[in-house]
Symmetry: C2
Subunit: 393 residues, 2 copies
């Protein structure tokens, strides 16, 4: 339908606004990535120089093989594959390790895609309860493992915990959990969707058996794109090559990896990841500054009477869940535009990305904003508060 | 590494050359798709206006929901989802229907990703032998089903056959096979990776339970992108929503579909598919002309003494496997550049996309070339033949 194309608006919110959307800032393209998708937009653009053994991660021109090697080093892991989204990384690992009825330990703040990966494999999730600060600890993980063992008579087949969760942006004790996983000899998948690409993450230092990252969430890449990294110990299992033989033709496709469905992320998305890689390598070094800006914002935000921050404080991540039930929501209750008054006020100040209409608990992310922009953002919220007679503390 | 970016060459083969690559022409972006990926390149670009029920195919702005509806109509199916490549469509269907040890009927020319999808689910492939014209027939499919039944004591759980195969570009009897599948009450997945998006394909007319297409192969879209369509009968099974409940938090994510891993193809790739859709709808009407050009090429190609066409004749597809063992390969055998002499000659004539160095059996695709370009291509091959003293017949 011509209609559909006419209704695809030109997306310009990153150009025209300060965007505080919780999931978008880490996936904004770099200039290099933008150039890359223009040059490599065509479907099978990465396959021009594909030669034996005919697998994406072995292609030398463009230097896809080198990227894989360097990316593994960057993550402190032995082997890496690109996948269409972090979820496809979870799926590959879970499908390799989990049989019907097996338990998988996840966080009480686990992303829904971790649930789905376990469900698709026929397993069941067992959530580690949070401590009073909304953190997943090694202690609670141990306790959950013991409970599962007692309840099912078997150890869980996998521990899958988020480095930083999607809900509060809290840091969880992945180092401690890695030790627990070693004690029990259960493989540990560390979900770095909110960390890999924005801050330094080293899988070996953490002690993770698997590291999963998201290109569109934190690696300045288009969707879908993601990263699955592992150690030599687990590579043969999760990156196992096909053993299927055609019963009639006797055909074999021995180089193709089963869980990767062969070649994984052909095309523009991969080349964009490669193009963003130098910037990503550099930007993770400045994560401290990003956190500083996030904490500056948090402090200014809390000067508005009634405002609360639901995430851990001080912030260790730029993704933050806030609560304005006792401030902006009070205004919304009697405003003719209800919660939309708040979005209207933000938009007027060229700020977008809040959940439109929400004035109770909502999330924002200051990642990548300049100091000027962060200050402007904090000031804007205080201005809105003042305009509606909310006190400053 | 800065190095990696420096070594990403600007890809311009579609601009500078006639590209006869077997898998690339159907996935060349339209102008609209190119504009779309520029506007929607950023990671979570499609999520700006995501509202309840928070699922990609329900998003109204941009009109992703409308696209899904129109795409289903276009394919003559009831429901459709976009997926990161046709292979992820196979995976979703196979993982929904196939248990460990179950048999799946595939073609003797099945794509390797069909093998992998079956292997990942723990099933086994059973290949239907080709007839003497290298076609998968209803008769041979019936016979294979009977063999499997006899051998394993159970019927296969799925029949998965390519509409046109990747090797020869031959058309297989998917209409007849659909009837067989109904007789046996076995679901039928028709792999339209080489047909959906370049020619008219109607799933209901074929009688398919599942239709799988490829965005980067035949729908003028970036990789990875693909289509999985089905009927009401099967939608509840393959697009089943999650039933997993967090044991500790009691969390549910009821709207998310298990085999889709939730949202599937967020971002630029989906918007590119949408942007290409009107062009795709129009271009499938002109498939006859594309086939005409393909047959013109085939006839001119066969005028070179020793040349053979391994695909069925007359051609019904623009993807064709040729054999030049008795023509160009004879030259290669004594040429100092070996098989590369042929690539050199083509490149000098601004033609690329043949398998570099290959002079025996190789594939080419004339899809999307103008008549002038097809004539030029045929002439160029004849010129090369003449230059090396190969006769014309």
């Amino acid at each position: 339908m011509k209609n559909i194309v006419d209704n695809i608006e030109v997306r310009a919110r990153e150009e025209l606004f300060i965007n505080i959307n919780p999931i978008q800032p880490g996936g904004r393209l770099t200039t290099e990535a933008m150039k890359a998708i223009i040059a490599y937009g065509d479907g099978y653009s990465t396959c021009d120089w594909c030669k034996k053994p005919f697998r994406l991660d072995k292609i030398q021109r463009p230097p896809i093989d080198e990227f894989h090697t360097e990316l593994a080093k960057f993550l402190g892991m032995d082997q890496v594959r690109v996948v269409p989204g972090a979820r496809r990384g979870f799926q590959a690992v879970v499908n390799s390790l989990v049989e019907k009825g097996d338990a998988v330990i996840v966080s009480s703040l686990a992303h829904y895609t971790e649930f789905l990966a376990v469900e698709a494999a026929g397993g069941m999730v067992k959530e580690v309860p949070l401590n009073k600060n909304n953190i997943v600890t090694a202690e609670n993980t141990t306790q959950k493992i013991e409970e599962v063992k007692k309840e099912t008579g078997a150890l869980p087949k996998l521990i899958m915990i988020d480095h930083f969760d999607y809900m509060l942006g809290n840091e969880h004790d992945v180092h401690g959990i890695a030790k627990v996983s070693k004690d029990y000899n259960i493989p540990f998948l560390c979900n770095g969707a909110y960390s890999i690409g924005v801050m330094p993450v080293n899988g070996k230092e953490i002690g993770a058996d698997f590291l999963v990252g998201s290109g569109h969430k934190s690696f300045a890449s288009p969707a879908p794109s993601g990263i699955l990294a592992t150690t030599e110990k687990w590579a043969d299992k999760v990156f196992r090559t096909t053993r299927m033989v055609g019963d009639s033709t006797k055909r074999k496709f021995g180089i193709k990896e089963v869980e990767m469905m062969g070649c994984t992320l052909m095309g523009a998305n991969l080349i964009a990841m490669m193009a963003s890689f130098p910037t990503v390598q550099e930007r993770v070094k400045h994560w401290d500054e990003e956190v500083k800006k996030g904490n500056y914002f948090a402090e200014e935000f809390l000067k508005i009477e009634g405002n609360k921050i639901l995430s851990e404080m001080p912030r260790k991540h730029t993704l933050t869940k806030v609560d304005t039930t006792e401030s902006f929501d009070k205004i919304a209750r009697t405003h003719k535009r209800r919660g939309f008054f708040f979005s209207d006020e933000l938009k007027e100040r060229r700020i977008v990305g809040e959940f439109v209409g929400a004035t109770r608990a909502w999330k924002l992310n200051t990642y990548g904003l300049t100091w000027d922009q962060v200050k402007y953002l904090a000031q804007a919220l205080q201005d809105i508060a003042k305009k509606y007679g909310i006190n400053m503390t």
